[in-house]
Subunit: 269 residues, 2 copies
């Protein structure tokens, strides 16, 4: 392969394998090229990605060294995407009675799911996350994209006990907004014992679901990272979880008490 | 930008924008380069992708011409992935009473979801699919990946009526395997009227869910493409839908009537 073709191939392979070390030896054998030239090629790819501000490329030195692609977004891109979503959510037609906003279409769109996944993964990459979990349904697309960037499996916690999950571990949880008791179910075929698990949910109001997921993770012996939630409602101020990372914050209309969200903004601690 | 860097950038941009025409003009302006050199660069990328058998690159000629990346798998890759999944499913520990196999972990893994998405998208790409729908929950990851490759939105049809979906269109359906009547719900905020919609489901036994989805699509004025199902059970032989495309076929143990699947194989019409 000529240098141009090697650079094209390296770019494609790295892009297709996020957060995975591809060794120099692998590329040397693939291209039947010297380590020196592969290193030169990788350097060009690294600099180009930097110039394009399209993710980060890390090189791992040493004999068994290699290169890893982290498709995380820059702070500027992250702000831009989140503000874009915030703008969409300000459309009054998205208001739903009972203090909800319609956003299923945004989270399930490949475009936003991928970008939100990159944003979330970027906040936890390098922390040794081994698994991602979410509770069905609206957060699944973003959880999958986060798991893809982190290069780990993703598991969906069910809200009803499904025969297709086989035996399950169940956890009751109290919805923080109402006082209703619900149950969530995790297949016993998923072994999370001793694993670092990133907990993702789409929306947090009282924090009941997040708390339930954290209790469930504790029950199966997992170490929780997060929870990370995409949207957090400002009310109730007191959540059932203390440590959580939201991306966007929704302010309820307290002046007219219309039960509508009047402002959606980047979350600031 | 030097030629090397342009080739790296073109590869990255095309990989990040599946099934989307990126015009030569766009690249010319981005690189401040002549169309001739951009066309040369694209040709190198095209040939390299072909040599690597990693998706297909199509060039659109003409003044407003450009290039499109289709991340579809080769027949060989497709067979390999599907047979790999079939092998995993033969593990007796995956048998679940009542004629089910445990495969949630496979469909929700970024690795297999991405590849299954590429396989499914590859079967419908070029047919003008404008939207992908699936019914929660296990098929969502693969539906998202199919939608990403097709570069169209994805919508999840709910099995319960959720306040967060706002007003919904509901459709009753009879489970083909039992005679139980269920209802599925599509948010009225999703406008599928006159749209070509690819219907995806993870598993087909009697075809009740698929039939329900097709009826629902008809109800909202959409034109159905598919349905495409990942797994189809060989029994009952008579399905409630006639036109459907499965990827893998599951043969029930009829000899000993153990209610277990004894063979999983590539689906052959």
């Amino acid at each position: 392969m000529k240098k141009n073709e090697r650079i094209c191939a390296i770019t494609k392979i790295l892009t297709d394998h996020p957060n995975q070390v591809m060794t120099y030896n692998y590329f040397c054998q693939l291209f039947d090229a010297s380590k020196t030239s592969v290193c030169e090629d990788v350097a060009i790819v690294k600099n180009t990605f930097e110039a394009m501000k399209t993710g980060r490329i890390e090189t791992v030195p040493g004999a068994a060294g290699g290169v890893r692609y982290l498709p995380v977004l820059s702070e500027t891109e992250e702000r831009a995407i989140l503000l874009e979503i915030a703008e969409m959510l300000k459309d009054p037609r998205r208001q739903i009675q009972g203090g909800f906003l319609y956003y299923s279409d945004i989270l399930s769109s490949p475009y936003y799911a991928e970008r939100l996944g990159k944003i979330i993964a970027g906040k936890y990459i390098g922390q040794g996350v081994q698994h991602v979990v979410t509770t069905e349904t609206k957060g699944i697309s973003v959880a999958l994209e986060s798991a893809r960037v982190l290069n780990v499996p993703m598991t969906v916690i069910r809200r009803t006990n499904k025969v297709t999950e086989g035996a399950t571990t169940s956890m009751n949880y109290v919805s923080g907004s109402s006082s209703k008791i619900n149950t969530m179910y995790l297949s016993r075929r998923i072994d999370l014992e001793g694993k670092k698990v990133l907990v993702i949910d789409d929306f947090m109001k009282g924090g009941g679901t997040a708390k339930g997921m954290m209790n469930l993770m504790e029950e199966v012996g997992a170490e929780v990272v997060g929870p990370c939630v995409i949207f957090v409602a400002d009310a109730p101020e007191e959540k059932l979880v203390t440590q959580y990372l939201p991306l966007l914050s929704m302010q309820m209309d307290t002046k007219n008490d219309s039960g509508e969200y009047v402002e959606i903004s980047l979350y600031e601690k």
